[in-house]
């Protein structure tokens, strides 16, 4: 399973359309395979991001705020979208690999003061 997370610093990016960095990881049997890679977008654009997601053959997209049109587009493309996820992306990735991440989750790390 290929997972893509829109990220900003150490957290899930607040908005899909304004995300300029994504993390892509491969998971199998609740394990993360290898080192996840990050891709920097040339500019934040929901359309470019959708194109990248299709190109990469991603199965699951984890993000926070996402507009209806982009959400519907990804769902039509048979993608699983887990949205409104708040907190550190590492924690989100582990939870998604474990199969227990749901839309609207505020992860425990979201409250840790840096």
């Amino acid at each position: 399973m290929k997972i893509l997370i829109t990220i900003k610093k150490n957290s899930v990016a607040p908005r899909f359309d304004l995300a300029s960095e994504v993390l892509i990881a491969l998971c199998e049997g609740q394990q993360i395979l290898g080192k996840p890679r990050t891709i920097l977008m040339t500019r934040p654009s929901a359309e470019d991001l959708c194109a990248l997601i299709i190109k990469e053959g991603v199965n699951t997209v984890i993000c926070n705020g996402i507009e209806e049109s982009h959400l519907q587009y990804l769902v039509w493309k048979k993608m699983r979208v887990i949205d409104s996820v708040v907190g550190p992306y590492g924690e989100a990735l582990k939870a998604a690999a474990g199969g227990f991440l749901q839309s609207g989750t505020i992860l425990s790390g979201a409250r840790e003061r840096k």
Binding site: S11, V12, E47, D48, G65, E68, S84, V86, G104, A110
Partner: protein
């Protein structure tokens, strides 16, 4: 900390006060994490107060006000209130325009100890922009039929190249929308998108509009005028109805495409332009080339990338999707509370063949929403020509006969072809006259009934001499 944390002073009281304010209110600490927020914010974000407490505000609010952290820090540092306009993504995935006011929260020693955010929904101010124009841009391209999915898959690829694109498809299939979407998702999106209807202006005017003119080029040319090509510098020029472009201008357009430069009308100095050309037509350009009405070299130059938009009758399942989408859209726009279509109405609407494609479907739904007085759109609320299919069957049959006759033997049996074409013209003329009679001569309404654009009706009126 206790003395600087306003929410802790009297938590219940503060929550009650905030909930009494009919706008979004949020209190942040110095680390920009949420201390308290009111029920308006809960409604907008979908996160409860308990969930959001201690979490950074930008993750909960999902706003776009630049780098919100920087803005908030500025208010913390300067102690001055700031107001900005932006938007947030709501829990139901809508982008809501919001006016933000960020004020410092001061403790009894006068030191800034947190921030107060005031969020005012300004959707109403944007309503005209969204609905008044009747088009919503990229997000309006809907469809989950195989043909549409194929097209949607191809669009990002076409958007990322700089080659010319030729969009073909019947009238009302959304060629303009797709052209704009290609521009919006291309690297030229920050530059102008200029649409030119090649069939709407006479040749002499069109040349001046496209390429501009210099002072004194012709009577009335009192000053230099930049053409639309120059105005679209670094952007996209969308040439709609390219099949109607006069032959003389086709040569000039070809030279722009090849050399990226042209002479303005009456000018002696070449102008350089860097634009992407997207062209669209509902005509069969190959046929026009065969008839000598369209230059073959220009056809091949434009036909680098081709996008064919399927007719609505070829898009399985999309009719229902579009019916629901336009019902929601007009419900909101016209302040109606219609919930659904009756089974009978759906049957009629899905069986109809939509010669005017999505534009016609949109107009039918708009008509029905206007007419419907109840909570459900019934068969009786639909236009007569949709409910009574006799005329339409006749039209389809004639259309098929014309296509068959043209495809089978255009050269061997020219007389037969002409005869059938004449029959179709008669039917079309009758349809136009009927529509004009129904609307008391109002061409905009007549075009709407026929499922055409006003330009198409104007062209056909000219062709048949019906003025």
């Amino acid at each position: 900390m206790e003395s600087t944390d306003p929410a802790r002073l009297d938590n219940i009281e503060i929550t009650e006060i905030l909930n009494g304010i009919p706008h979004g209110c949020v209190i942040l600490d110095k680390e920009l994490c949420i201390i308290e927020m009111n029920s308006s914010i809960v409604l907008l974000t979908g996160f409860t107060v308990a969930e959001a407490r201690g979490v950074r505000a930008d993750s909960i609010l999902r706003c776009n006000i630049g780098d919100s952290g920087k803005l908030f820090r500025k208010v913390l540092d300067t102690g001055e209130t700031l107001s900005v306009e932006g938007n947030i993504i709501t829990q139901d995935h809508k982008k809501k325009p919001v006016h933000f006011t960020v004020s410092p929260f001061k403790n009894d020693k006068g030191h800034t100890s947190g921030l107060f955010l005031f969020l005012e929904d300004i959707s109403i101010l944007h309503t005209f922009d969204d609905d008044g124009s009747g088009r919503d841009g990229v997000k309006d391209i809907l469809g989950h039929s195989t043909k549409m999915l194929e097209m949607l898959e191809l669009m990002p690829v076409l958007a990322h190249t700089d080659a010319s694109v030729l969009i073909t498809g019947e009238t009302g299939t959304g060629k303009d929308l797709v052209a704009e979407a290609l521009h919006e998702t291309s690297k030229r999106s920050r530059h102008p998108f200029i649409k030119i209807n090649c069939g709407a202006l006479p040749e002499s005017l069109l040349e001046s509009e496209l390429f501009g003119h210099v002072r004194g080029a012709f009577t009335g040319a009192v000053k230099d005028k930049p053409g639309l090509f120059r105005l679209a510098q670094n952007g996209t020029v969308f040439l709609t109805e390219i099949g109607d472009l006069p032959l003389a201008l086709q040569v000039k357009l070809l030279s722009v495409l090849d050399d990226k430069e042209f002479f303005p009308v009456g000018g002696i100095k070449k102008e350089k332009v860097d634009v992407r050309i997207v062209a669209a037509t509902h005509r069969d350009l190959r046929k026009l080339v065969k008839r000598g009405q369209f230059r073959e070299d220009l056809f091949y130059r434009l036909n680098v990338l081709r996008l064919h938009l399927p007719a609505l009758r070829e898009r399985d399942g999309d009719i229902r999707l579009l019916l629901d989408y336009f019902l929601r859209k007009f419900n909101t726009g016209l302040n109606k509370s219609i919930q659904e279509y009756t089974g009978e109405a759906v049957e009629v609407l899905t069986a109809y063949h939509y010669p005017g494609n999505v534009r016609e479907l949109r107009n039918i739904v708009e008509y029905a929403v206007h007419i419907c007085q109840g909570k459900r759109i019934k068969k009786e609320c639909l236009p007569e020509y949709v409910v009574s299919p006799q005329v339409d069957v006749e039209v389809i049959e004639k259309q098929q006969t014309i296509q068959a006759s043209v495809v089978e033997s255009p050269r061997d049996q020219p007389e037969h072809s002409v005869l059938v074409s004449k029959g179709w013209s008669d039917v079309e003329q009758e349809m136009i006259i009927d529509a004009l009679k129904k609307t008391g001569g109002n061409r905009t309404k007549a075009a709407s009934i026929l499922g055409w654009g006003r330009t198409t009706l104007w062209r056909k009126l000219n062709r048949y001499g019906l003025h």
